[in-house]
Amino acid sequence: MNWTWFHRLGSPPHIYRIAGTLTPWFAWPAGLLIVAALYGGLVLAPPDYQQGEGFRILYVHAPSAWLAVMIYGVMASAAAVGLIWRMKVAHAVAASCAGVGAWFTAVSLVTGMLWGKPMWGTYWVWDPRLTAQLILFILYLGYMGLRAGIDDLGRADRASAVLAIVGVVNIPIIRYSVEWWNSIHQAPSVMKMDRPSMPLDMLAPLLMMLLGFTLYFAAILLVRLRAEILRRERTASWIREVLR
């Protein structure tokens, strides 16, 4: 008995194979970029006139914070595509994002706190960006909690997709409200470091790290995507060759 489901865009076996071949093309450049950025950030870049050597935490904090937000965006757009065009591969992409996103949101929180400690003497500071990242972390937990709470995979995909879309609409509003809340209460703000004003030898490693982290995420996403595709394709005949 041979049946396959043909999806207009990106039929699963095709995507599965492409994901496999592309992974190393993302993984290796990511590794190199990160190592180079580490060297640039820790050794070459001069200490900050205000925060001294402490500012180097920026090279892990900023990329993690960037991943946290970018991954949610990727997750929500994949979810929207999956919901509107009923594409299982898109839901598989969304499912693959959540874990990594939550991890790096946590990293951005921890590194943010470690950065705040020498600056303000306390680990937690109600800085608007840190607060917004904390709320984003709770959004990730809610998303993963909803997925875990529903047994049927198809239903879990669609329900979590609705949540991701509602979440992504709210993220800018939450960020604005937290910034607004911070401004009216003049709470201390740690992250005054705005990137453009940084000298080139400080900025270059940061940009390389950002790109490195992004490529790293792409590699992880592709590996997880293959797993999620297998789960959704159940007993499609093309999987037999893959398993051989």
């Binding site: 050597e53 180097r56 935490i57 990594v100 997880r224 797993a227 297998l230 007993t235 398993l243």
Partner: protein, 56 residues
């Protein structure tokens, strides 16, 4: 070399931050690979059930 690691006093904040990031990077690599392996394992189990199920 040692004053490099000292990071003039920021060491106890800086290196833990890098360590946490390294852990996250490695953990996600491992988790992703394991997820893929598990998915393949489940697929094999499903095919086993189906092959034995549908053969008369």
């Amino acid at each position: 070399m040692s004053e490099f690691f000292a990071m003039d006093g920021y060491a106890i904040f800086l290196w833990p931050a890098y360590l946490v990031t390294l852990i996250a990077i490695l953990a996600n690599v491992m988790l992703a690979r394991r997820a893929h392996a598990e998915a393949k394992q489940e697929a094999r189990r499903r095919f086993a059930i189906e092959d034995e199920g549908s053969s008369p």
